[in-house]
């Protein structure tokens, strides 16, 4: 007797359709599973046996072979419990086998037969919508997430018993409602208005958001670097639905979704500690999981205390920053996760932190500062356009009442979106370039044409500060962003001078 149906596995953030076949026959009543199951799938034998027994049904008392096709791909996760259990019940005659054909089932079983939500439901459901099928059945707990993929028909079940009743025509399963997007702003959501003073740094944040530039903040401890970075997502344009779905998929595969609101509607803000491992940053594991760079997809990756990160950790960031995705190769499988994020980093100007502080003296030696700065130099720094100096907060700014609060995120965001709109028009039809920061050098010269006046200013700055050719292109890009924020077509000298101001580290002010 053979029963078969479809289940879904995961491969990166793509669904892997798995054909589940169960064959029963004469012989010793063994229960074997073939088709490269990982340990979670192998353990499914125990869950399935217990769930079936606790529903009052019995396993066929025969030799049972479960095959998961395609046999050459490793199957991971517990979502195959439900299709395996249903095939067994079909083989035992409890469920009409014809009802299983053409349907797709996903769900982890608990010992009493209840269905548990599974990791990666959204990508699986999205994969199912591309398959030819007559119904996808998912656990009730994963229903709202699956509904985001707009797959039809979609049914949610609370337990194996409910699925069996549905297939026997004794009861009907319901379609789940799509997950509602959580409110964009709510009480406690970080807002730029919370930041007192810091006009320069706020402007740098706005520039970064407007042009998609990576940003490095340098300032003494307690000057508000982390606070500013946390508010960066609130001034970035809101996520498009497509972006939100993509980000949700990554979080779903990582098992990082919250139960109440499975849709990640706000741009993510990830701030890994500096002791993070390389695999934690880029993703990894024997069956790969997304890392911080992928969890920050379409959002902000914040590296606080940048020089404290291990050199190797900073090195592994280069490839994802370049490609917008990260490929992880492991013995079991090779997967690619999206990783298009904006990098925000923060550091002190010296090990003690006070070398730029107007009121406190620095206790570091020249050598210490030099070593400290050397840790962030190199390839990563090349990919950071904006070096923003953050000054300590003035007492007068702090003590001022709420009426002196800075501009709200919503207002800044409006300007940012306007600037982004200009960029979208400019780069329409150009593959891989979405904002000013994405422009390759050749394109930069073509697009950021300077007036003779601006040109002269830039020349002076380049000579005076000894800036490199690389810095030159970055300055052009940022000048363009400044002009976009203002809404002017050409880049004026004031835009150039602002851009030059963001190349602090090129100017070597600390090592003078």
């Amino acid at each position: 007797m053979i029963a078969r149906t479809m289940g879904l596995g995961l491969r990166g953030i793509r669904a892997l359709p798995v054909e589940v076949e169960v064959s029963t026959g004469r012989g010793l009543p063994t229960f074997s599973m073939v088709g490269l199951p990982d340990s979670a799938v192998k353990e499914s034998r125990q869950r399935v046996s217990a769930a079936i027994a606790n529903l009052g049904y019995s396993l066929p008392g025969q030799k049972i072979t479960v095959n998961l096709a395609p046999a050459y791909r490793r199957k991971e996760g517990s979502g195959l419990d439900l299709p395996i259990a249903l095939c067994l019940l079909a083989a035992a005659g409890t469920v009409p086998p014809g009802e299983l054909e053409g349907r797709i089932f996903v769900g982890e079983l608990s010992l009493d037969g209840r269905l548990r939500p599974v990791r990666g439901m959204l990508p699986m459901a999205a994969g199912a919508s591309e398959l030819d099928h007559r119904g996808l059945v998912v656990p009730a707990g994963s229903g709202p997430e699956a509904a985001l993929a707009e797959v039809e028909p979609l049914l949610a079940a609370g337990s194996l018993g409910e699925v069996v009743a549905h297939l026997r025509g004794e009861a009907r399963l319901q379609s789940p409602d799509e997950a509602a997007a959580p409110p964009e702003t709510g009480p406690g959501a970080p807002d730029m208005a919370d930041v007192r003073g810091q006009e320069q740094a706020r402007r740098a944040m706005e520039m970064a958001a407007a042009g998609g530039h990576n940003v490095l903040m340098i300032g003494p401890p307690g000057s508000g670097k982390t606070m500013l970075a946390r508010r960066l997502p609130s001034i970035l344009p809101p996520m498009e639905r497509e972006e939100a779905i993509e980000t949700t998929m990554v979080h779903s595969v990582a098992g990082a979704l919250s139960g109440e609101s499975p849709l990640v509607a706000r741009r993510p803000f990830r701030s890994p500690h500096h002791t993070v491992s390389d695999a934690g940053l880029t993703g990894g594991g024997s069956t790969p999981r997304p890392g911080e760079v992928s969890l920050a997809h379409n959002g902000v990756l914040f590296l606080d205390e940048l020089p404290e990160f291990r050199r190797s950790s900073l090195e592994v960031l280069r490839q994802p920053m370049e490609d917008g995705e990260v490929t992880i190769a492991r013995a079991s499988m090779t997967v690619t996760y999206p990783a298009r994020f904006m990098l925000a980093a923060a550091m002190n100007p010296c090990p003690c932190g006070y070398s730029t502080h107007p009121g406190r003296s620095c206790s570091c030696t020249y050598g210490e500062i030099k070593r400290y700065m050397a840790r962030v130099s190199g390839p990563l720094l090349d990919r950071i356009d904006i070096h923003a100096e953050v000054a300590p907060v003035e007492y007068s700014d702090l003590a001022s009442g709420p009426e002196c609060a800075g501009e709200t995120s919503a207002r800044i965001r409006r300007r940012v979106m306007e600037a982004r709109r200009r960029q979208t028009q400019r780069f329409a039809g150009v593959e891989g370039v979405h904002c000013n920061a994405d422009m390759p050098a050749s394109m930069t010269e073509e697009i950021c044409v300077l007036s003779p006046e601006s040109n002269r200013l830039l020349e002076q700055a380049m000579d005076g500060y000894g800036l490199s050719a690389r810095a030159y292109h970055r300055i052009l890009r940022m000048a363009r962003t400044a002009a976009d924020l203002e809404g002017t077509g050409g880049t004026a000298p004031r835009h150039v001078s602002e851009a030059v101001a963001y190349r602090t580290l090129d100017r070597d002010i600390w090592l003078g």
């Binding site: 004469r26 012989g27 010793l28 009543p29 063994t30 229960f31 074997s32 008392g61 025969q62 030799k63």
Partner: protein
């Protein structure tokens, strides 16, 4: 407990099975080191029955009496038995726990007490 008691217990289990429509294919079947207490057949089902004696006061639950090694041993013996007799059937592994003294036996019987861990080839 003497060997005679054990024989009597096995006989008790066999007759209990016969009363329920099973025919006994083998008793105390041995092949090399492999051993089966009782093999019974009813229709297309073959049951391999392990007979255990329990002293009157023992409170151990039945399935725990069979550790993994013993289960493997029985599974392997069953595979050998089926191969030798050239039988194709639905198989199950039962456990019969006999208590008491000869003449006043009582028995708890557990059908499908376990499933073999793997395929055993002979």
């Amino acid at each position: 407990m003497s060997r005679g008691d054990w024989r009597a217990a096995e006989e008790f289990a066999a007759s209990w099975l016969r009363d329920r429509g099973w025919s006994i294919l083998a008793r105390n079947w041995r092949w090399h080191r492999l051993e089966l207490d009782l093999v019974a057949r009813r229709g297309s089902t073959v049951a391999f029955v392990e007979v255990k004696m329990a002293s009157a006061g023992s409170r151990t639950m039945v399935p725990q009496k069979l550790d993994r090694r013993k289960r493997d041993h029985i599974s392997r013996a069953a595979a050998a038995f089926l191969a030798q007799r050239d039988i194709t059937a639905d198989c199950r592994f039962d456990l019969a726990e006999v208590r008491g003294e000869p003449g006043s036996f009582s028995m708890s019987y557990m059908p499908s007490a376990f499933r073999p861990r793997g395929d055993y080839t002979v």
